[in-house]
């Protein structure tokens, strides 16, 4: 009996059992109730002295060189009330006072602009009619697929929850175009604006541009994606070998050279925007165990409009120890680690780079080894 079968079988369990499990507190499933038990009893947070003891124990476990002295630590990443354990990988949440005030100003402008944009979106009426093709959905439909058929027309296929075809229906080019336009609006990437902005119309686009201009910010548009042919088996225009993909960080992502000091074992993907923000998701084998971990690095430009919620992760902050590390290219990094996950971040001149590593048993040397994969000084235009 393989895992695929078991995972599919579990997908068939009654919704009532899912609802029942959701009654429990804990994690993001019950946001805001993380500190309550199922009986409603509060779990008291450990006293400060215990936290220090735990941090010291963690430092001891992690080895010589780690210390919990950097009080700034997670402040750069945590979204804050009510998401005290949610980390943003796409925008610095706070800036040390020692840094240039211009960085804080740009991040504050981004926050104010996002608040204004959110308020506008909340009050915006929806004025696009649902295409007729959506009016027809056979009973029991779980998903619909549309594809171009051999005659150059289009077909809509309706599947049930077991992925059995219920019905296939021809679709005209006009219907297809209406469907595509509607989906573009619903997904919110009208006219190439990054889908996180949720731009649905010309009016939205004008308003977003107006807000960005008011706060002196630029916008993310037209994401470019590249895949590793070696890792994913994909071929074609956007597929590259691991070495070529590493090289792309120089040529395509606006950096002053290949940011990879070493070619990773593989890539999940890389994507970038013309204004300089980019993501590199890659795999590295840990020297201590031979286990492979995923490293997800994101570079966000200070002068770009971000919500900070584009890519987030959960982290039990109290479990992490913080330390500084000087990378192979001489950049001073902040590293937060708990023995199985780590975050690396650095405030650069024009952008904030943060990288998540996980999840596997990791030593301090493992984390340093991964930190040295990136040439941070080359990031940015």
């Amino acid at each position: 009996m393989d895992k695929k079968l078991i995972s599919e079988a579990l997908g068939c369990i009654d919704e009532d059992y899912i609802i029942e499990a959701l009654e429990l507190s804990g994690g993001a499933y019950a946001r805001g109730k993380e500190n309550e038990t199922m009986n409603g009893r509060k779990i008291t947070k450990p006293a400060r002295i215990l936290l220090i003891a735990a941090a010291l124990a963690m430092v001891m476990a992690l080895g010589v060189g780690a210390y919990a002295a950097d009080v700034f630590g997670f402040r750069a990443l945590i979204l804050g009330d009510p998401m005290e354990n949610v980390v943003s990988l796409t925008k610095a949440q706070d800036v040390p006072e020692t840094l240039d005030a211009a960085i804080s100003e740009k991040l504050a402008a981004s926050k104010a602009a996002w608040d204004e944009w959110s308020e506008y979106k909340t009050n915006r009426p929806f004025n696009m009619e649902k295409p007729e093709v959506y009016e027809y959905i056979p009973a029991g439909t779980y998903r619909m697929e549309v594809f171009e058929n051999s005659e150059g027309g289009y077909s809509a296929s309706y599947y049930d929850e077991n992925d059995e075809l219920i019905e296939e229906k021809a679709m005209s080019a006009e219907e297809y175009e209406a469907l595509r336009a509607f989906d573009e609006v619903m997904i919110g990437n009208f006219d190439g604006y990054d889908f996180n902005y949720n731009v649905c119309s010309e009016e939205d686009a004008d308003k977003l541009e107006e807000i960005a201009a008011k706060y002196g910010l630029v916008l993310k548009r037209d994401v470019n994606i590249a895949w590793s042919s070696e890792t994913t088996g994909q071929s074609g225009e956007n597929a590259y070998t691991n070495e070529e993909l590493a090289e792309l960080t120089s040529e395509k992502m606006g950096n002053s050279g290949n940011i990879f000091a070493k070619v990773p074992d593989g890539f999940d993907k890389a994507y970038w925007y013309d204004e300089g923000s980019f993501c590199v998701s890659f795999y590295v084998t840990l020297p201590s165990s031979g286990e492979q971990v995923t490293c997800y690095g994101y570079n966000s430009m200070y002068g770009t409009l971000y919500s900070g919620r584009e890519v987030v992760a959960e982290a039990n902050v109290d479990e992490f120890a913080s330390r500084e590390y000087v990378s192979a290219d001489g950049t001073v990094l902040t590293i937060l680690e708990n023995g199985s996950e780590a975050y690396i971040y650095v405030f650069l001149e024009d952008s904030f780079y943060v990288q998540h590593i996980g999840t596997a048993d990791m030593t301090v040397k493992d984390v340093n080894y991964i930190a040295d994969y990136i040439s941070y000084a080359l990031i940015g235009k």
Partner: protein
């Protein structure tokens, strides 16, 4: 916003429906997808797919719980991606949980599966009905949500050791149940 209001927004085809659903339950769905895939960007994309799937199916579907419905659709999107990505990508919490369950209920004398997912799902449903509520919640949190044992234990207000022991007993019961049903 409660489920009734959320469902009403979808039935009205209001644009606020998706953003309201995301605001209410997006974090939970994303956390679930992250458990399955171990990759935040992928989790984001699965959440988007899940939200769109809700939009495409409500109406006519009128879910009892919008949260459970979104989580179910997002989980399916995440599982599709999980199976597509192949072994090299599999290093998530969910993978660990599935390894644990597969090891426990491995076929007694053959590597071949003797049943289909739907049959097995029905049997697991029947088995879950026999469990005490707390054991069932622990099982679902561990194997449906892909929660780490410590998180599932915390949610139930018990120690990880106690949760581990209870889960061990539940898995053992499941194995015996499936053998009795002729599935192992």
């Amino acid at each position: 916003m409660d489920d009734r209001e959320l469902t009403a927004l979808f039935f009205e085809r209001s644009e606020q429906a998706i953003s309201a659903l995301e605001a209410s339950h997006g974090a939970a769905a994303k956390a679930l997808a992250f458990n399955v895939l171990g990759d935040m960007r992928d989790a984001e994309e699965c959440l988007s797919d899940g939200l769109l799937a809700v939009w495409n199916t409500v109406p006519p579907t009128c879910p009892e719980s919008m949260k459970a419905y979104l989580l179910g659709l997002t989980r399916n999107c995440a599982l599709d991606r999980y199976h597509l990505l192949g072994a090299k990508k599999r290093c998530s919490r969910f993978d660990t949980a599935m390894d644990e369950l597969a090891y426990c209920i491995a076929d007694a004398d053959t590597a071949q599966s003797v049943c289909e997912a739907k049959e097995l799902g029905a049997a697991i449903n029947a088995f879950l009905a026999t469990l005490a509520k707390e054991d069932r919640q622990l099982f679902v949190r561990r194997f449906w949500f892909g929660d780490e044992l410590g998180d599932a234990a915390k949610a139930l207000g018990m120690t990880p050791q106690r949760a581990s022991l209870r889960l061990f007993r539940t898995k053992d019961k499941l194995k015996r149940f499936l053998m009795k049903e002729g599935m192992l």
